[in-house]
Structures are given as structure tokens and as C-alpha cells.
Symmetry: C2
Subunit: 367 residues, 2 copies
DNA sequence: CGCCCGTTTGGAAACGTTTACGGCACACAG
DNA sequence: CTGTGTGCCGTAAACGTTTCCAAACGGGCG
């Protein structure tokens, strides 16, 4: 029973390992030596396998926390062939910065906490430079044994991403329009959000409601326009073509579009803009035209960026639930991971999370 | 010479490995088999070691790219005892959200690209829940063999972080007030930025310049106030105590502080606010008081958040260079990594990156 | 008393890489 | 012709885990 072979073979490079608890290196072998069992048993104890007696399990665990043992993940990954790690990609394209910035960080936080609650680790993938070889993302996935990738709000024409989506790597995208054998798309209910905005304006008495859209080749922009149209139709509001102005999600385009809308013969009394920056632009246009908001013109935006609550009057807007989006993406990805590839060829339907209307001064003065 | 042992031992689980290029698994052994050399040579060729002939190196590399070989990082990490990976921590505290949100994402991007240019990988560490055991970050560092950690804008009282900083793990913090044996702090030149703001107002003819500070226990807030005072002293401007109002970096506090400042007998003609949200609050206060900006009152902020360019008049502000901050943090961390621990006990002086004054409509109408 | 079974344990082989060490072939000087 | 160096390469041992397989042990049952 007493098979103490203390210091039989001193480990080779222990002294140089930078990260030790008390100066000496503690791995599973050290734990085994100290507690007089084999490494197999230690591994079983720490991994909560059933085939260990309660007594030894407890003993080993106490020793492990006492010595500050931390399992070596690379070694585990190597032998288990799974890393419990997922990759994260987000667009670094400059063009979308102004648009998505504040939104992204909320998503990032949400994804991070949701993943860590599911005991996954998170690796940030670097967006490849344009001259990088194709498949950079795929390479990263293979190098690190990543089990899946979460993609945040990336333009649909990213060739690196298309390659990734086309592979068998499980991907969950938030506000991302890719499609592939093992991908899921998660997004806000853009249409319903737009409908809610229109209904809100209708309830306030508005009957001439115009809209400023985003670039219509982007799915969110198209969906918000569709929601606007559907609500108008349902409420019996006519939508003359002059009431639909296209913007690019940025402030200047919103201001210009609003200026045009305000010159229409049947001047609209309310504007629903598909993005907050454009809505703020509409506020400026109203001021330029000498119109008081919300008395002469009501404005509703979309996204609830930081600035929405800082401008004056504060902007009524359709808020996306970043936390829910992040959690939905993680849940969707886990679903993809659990489903064995090739098994059920379920089309991995898109997940839609609801939005929330935040009512502020730009639509009604009472609030 | 012809020691072909083709298919001597078929690899055990190749078929089940999910991430293969063409259906079969390609590792360094496969490359060796196909090119008729040993794994040692393959490794040397791929790692650009000198002891390989140019011919075989080229042959092996071509084969590698042709087969889509990706090195197994966990295995490399295991044997090399270094992961080329650094960890990233940022504050998840809700209270700072409104303040740092837009800023953080820029930092994140900058850090990510700077790290990937230096061939490091990035792992997101999850902020531990309050009930988590101490040392969670340290555990993560040891588990993943992380070589260092970058910390973004975290309140000084985070106990998890204090533990990390106290360890021998190299840490670089941006806008973070920790100190430890192997830590560097990187931050903007808050004092100089404040001075530049005051000088700008002085150059426009203002002589009665007040300030709204942040919470003075936070280093950035204190430094900005110090810069304001220094510039005023240098320019011969008196600073009556009533000209200094403390806020909390949020809009409401700025609005309230500005209201107080505008009631002072010698009413200031310009206000320097240590944060953009507070500056926007000052704009609102001016509007409430019937003062036109910038004619009756000039306002300068700090940070250049998104909203600064969206409000009306647009806000003149001191922009922090997020990219430079990120790069400086990475450079500082690399310095820490290169310096052997225990060698030169250099105190790892703080790195300061310059700010940039962005002049917009809130300080002068011409622009 | 012998056998079988269930529980707990240990030995050892993997996982994919890097690298210390030694060996072979060749060139060149003595 | 021998010795010495140099350039290139192969063998094998690590790195810290997990897990397959077998073994030890004790107990119940025929």
C-alpha cells in the first residue's frame, strides 16, 4: 500500500515553468504521487466519473484545491479531441463601424456570459486582411480544435465567412446572412419591431407616416421596411411611394431623406426611421424646417444606440435585446453541436428574438 | 533509404475527427509519410529551422498547403510549454456601461489586430460572478498556459483583478489602476488632453472657463482636473472654486453641474467637461437657460463618443486614440514578456499615449 | 469451497507536436 | 588514407491528459 517513490525522477523543466502555485509544478502526476494513487484515478476523480469511491474522490479533490491544481487544457484537448472552445468573429469592416458599434459590445458581453455558463471557452478570431489566403477562419478552427463559431453582424459579402459557412463547421450568426450545411441565423424580429413602431404612431393619432429605410440589400433593412408596409396595410394607411426614402443607416442620409419627405405635398406627420442615426438626422431636418418635435413631427428610430437617450428630444426607438440575441445564438450553436452531423438534415431554422419599444420624447411630449 | 511503412498502423480515430480537409485527417505524420521524410524534418521545415535543405523544405511546404494542413496548436502548446495566447479581461460591471461602451469596442478591435500582427492568439476571459472562488483569472491563465493578460478599463476595486496583478502573470492594463510585480499601465494623456481643451477655449477668446469633473477617486477624472488647473494657471486664468463642479460621467450629473455653473455670479463663458455625456448634459442646460452654443457658451467634452458627432451642435471633444492605446498595451505586454522575470526589476513605467482635439460646432460656429 | 459479478484501481497506450542526440555522407586539409 | 568538420536527417523521448483493458478484491450464491 505504501508505494512511495518520492522524487524518483525529478521532472525535467519544472523549475522553468512560469506559472506555478507555490514555486513547484503541480500536475496530475504530482497529485497522484501525493495521494498514493495512479494518475488514472486522479483523472477520474477530478472529472466526476462514477467508478471512483467517494472517499478517494474527496481526498483527491481536497488535495487538488489545496495545491491550487489547474488542469492543462491543451493536454486535455489533445487527447479528448475536443476543446470546449468556440470562436468568435465580428466584422472589422470600417463601413459598419458607426452603425453597429454600441450594439456589438452588448452582443459580445451576452455571448461571453452565455458561453461561460455553458462551460465553453471563447477565442477571438482575427479578421483576416484582404490579402490573406482564403480559409483563414477555417484554418484557425482546425488549429485550435474549435467546435463552432459565432459570427456577429457581418456584411453578407465576406468571402472568408462564406468559406466558413460552406464548411461543416457549426456556425451561429447574429444578424448575418449566411447559409451553409451547419449554420443557424439569429436575429431580432425586425418586421415585428417596425410594426410596433408604426402602431405606436398610429395610436398617437398619426395617419401620415413615412419611413426612411436602410440599404435594402441588407436583410434587416428589408425586413424593417416589410414590417412598416404590413402595419400600414393592416391599419388602412396608404403608403404613397414618396413616403419611402432610402438611406444608408448613417446620419447624413437620414437628414437628407427627411428633408425630402418633408417637402412632399401631403407632408407626413410622423417618420419611422430604420436606424437611430438616421432618426437623429430626421430630428435635425425637422429643426432645420422649423418643425417642433414631437408636436409637428414625431420620429421613431431603431436600435436604441447610446445617443438615442442623449439627444433632445430623446428618441423613441425600437430596442434590440442584445442579451437575448447572444443567448439565442449560443443556444442555437449548442443545438447544432449536439445534433450529430449528417444525422437529421434539419434546415436549422432561424431564431427570432422579440424587440422592445422604448418610448421617449421624440414621439410624445408627455413622457 | 526506402523505409516505406505505408499504412502500418492506421490511425485510430481518424475517421471520426470532425475537421478534416478532404475527408481524411492530415497531421504531421501524414505529411512525413507522403513526402518520405521523418516527422522531425517536417516539423523543422514548417517551422523554418535552418537544418533543412531548401529543396525538402519547399517540397514539404507545398504538400502542406496542398493538403490543407493546419498545425495542432494544443499539441504544440503542450510540448513547447507556451501557447502564444494572451487573455483579455474587461469590466462587465453594469455601472460603467454607459460610460465606456463605445470606447471599449475600439480598444478591443485595436488590441485584437495588434496581437494578431504579433502572432498571438486571443482568449476572452469571462468575468467571474461575485460568488466565484478567488483566483478564477489565475486559474484560467494556468489552465490555458496564457502568457499574459490585457485588462481593459476596469474599476480599481475588482478583487479578482487584484489577485491577478499580485501574481507573476504579466499584465497590461488600459485605463486600469492596478499595480503588481509584472504589470504595466497604459492610458491616454488625460492631463495634456485637458490642457489642450483649455488652450483651445483660451485661443477662442474665453477667459472664464469652468469645468465639470468626473468622480475624483478615478485616476482619469483626477488627471483631467489637474490638466485643467495647470493650463489655467499657465494662462493666468483664475479658477474660483465655484468653477469646479463634480459629476459622475453621466448626462444628468453634467446637466445639473452646468446649471449650477451658469448661476455663478461671474458666469463662465466656456465649460470643459471631463466626459462627453456630461458635456452633452451641459448643452442641454445651456438650452434650458436660453443660451446659444457656442455664441453664449462654449462646451468641450472628453472621449469622442459616437453621440458627440450626432448631437446639435456637434460636440468639440478630446478624442482618445483607441488604436494607439491598444497597440501600446500590446507593446507593453510584449516588453514584459521579453524581459525575463526577476531579471531587471524595472518598475514598468506607465505608457502614455497622446490625445487629439476634435473641433466641432460646440466651441466655434465657423467649423 | 469454488465461481461469478460488481466495484475500484493500476498499467500503459494513445493524442500531435518539438527537440536533444546521434548518425550518415560528403568535402577538405593534413 | 585518415581525421575532422559540416550539412542534413532519423530515432525516440518527452509534454499532461484521458481511457481501454486487465487485475485485485470482496461478497453473495450455489
Amino acid at each position: 500500500m505504501f508505494s512511495f517513490t518520492l522524487d524518483a525522477t525529478p521532472p525535467r523543466r519544472s523549475a522553468t515553468c512560469p506559472l506555478t502555485q507555490n514555486g513547484y509544478f503541480v500536475n496530475i502526476r504530482e497529485l497522484a504521487r501525493r495521494s498514493g494513487v495512479s494518475t488514472a484515478t486522479v483523472s477520474r476523480a477530478l472529472n466526476d466519473r462514477a467508478e471512483v469511491s467517494e472517499a478517494t474522490r474527496e481526498r483527491i479533490r481536497r488535495l487538488a484545491t489545496e495545491l491550487g491544481y489547474a488542469p492543462n487544457e491543451p493536454a486535455r484537448t489533445l487527447v479528448r479531441r475536443r476543446s470546449d472552445t468556440i470562436g468568435l468573429v465580428w466584422d472589422s469592416g470600417q463601413e459598419a463601424q458607426g452603425l453597429h458599434n454600441p450594439f456589438l459590445l452588448g452582443l459580445l458581453s451576452a455571448v461571453r456570459t452565455a458561453l461561460s455558463e455553458a462551460d465553453y471557452h471563447l477565442m477571438l478570431l482575427t479578421t483576416p486582411a484582404p490579402e490573406d489566403p482564403e480559409g483563414t477562419h477555417l484554418q484557425a478552427v482546425r488549429r485550435h480544435n474549435l467546435e463552432g463559431v459565432i459570427v456577429l453582424t457581418t456584411p453578407p459579402d465576406d468571402r472568408f465567412l462564406r468559406l466558413l459557412a460552406a464548411s461543416t463547421v457549426p456556425c451561429a450568426g447574429i444578424d448575418t446572412a449566411f447559409t451553409g450545411p451547419r449554420t443557424v441565423r439569429v436575429s431580432s424580429d425586425n418586421a415585428a419591431g417596425a410594426e410596433a413602431a408604426v402602431e405606436h404612431l398610429y395610436a398617437l393619432g398619426h395617419r401620415r407616416i413615412a419611413t426612411i429605410t436602410g440599404p435594402l440589400h441588407l436583410p434587416p433593412a428589408a425586413e424593417r421596411l416589410a414590417g412598416y408596409r404590413r402595419a400600414c396595410a393592416r391599419l388602412g394607411l396608404g403608403v404613397p411611394e414618396a413616403y419611402v426614402a432610402e438611406g444608408d443607416f448613417f446620419l447624413a442620409s437620414g437628414q437628407a431623406a427627411a428633408r425630402r419627405l418633408l417637402e412632399v405635398a401631403e407632408r407626413p406627420t410622423a417618420i419611422f426611421a430604420a436606424g437611430d442615426q438616421m432618426a437623429i438626422g430626421a430630428l435635425h431636418a425637422a429643426a432645420d424646417a422649423g418643425l417642433a418635435v414631437p408636436r409637428d413631427l414625431a420620429v421613431v428610430g431603431f436600435d436604441d444606440i447610446d445617443a438615442a437617450s442623449l439627444v433632445r428630444p430623446a428618441l423613441t426607438t425600437v430596442a434590440q435585446d442584445q442579451r437575448a440575441l447572444g443567448e439565442a445564438a449560443v443556444a442555437a450553436l449548442r443545438g447544432l453541436l449536439d445534433a450529430e452531423p449528417g444525422a437529421g438534415a434539419q434546415p436549422a431554422q432561424a431564431r427570432i428574438v422579440p424587440t422592445r419599444l422604448v418610448i421617449r420624447g421624440s414621439s410624445r411630449s408627455g413622457a
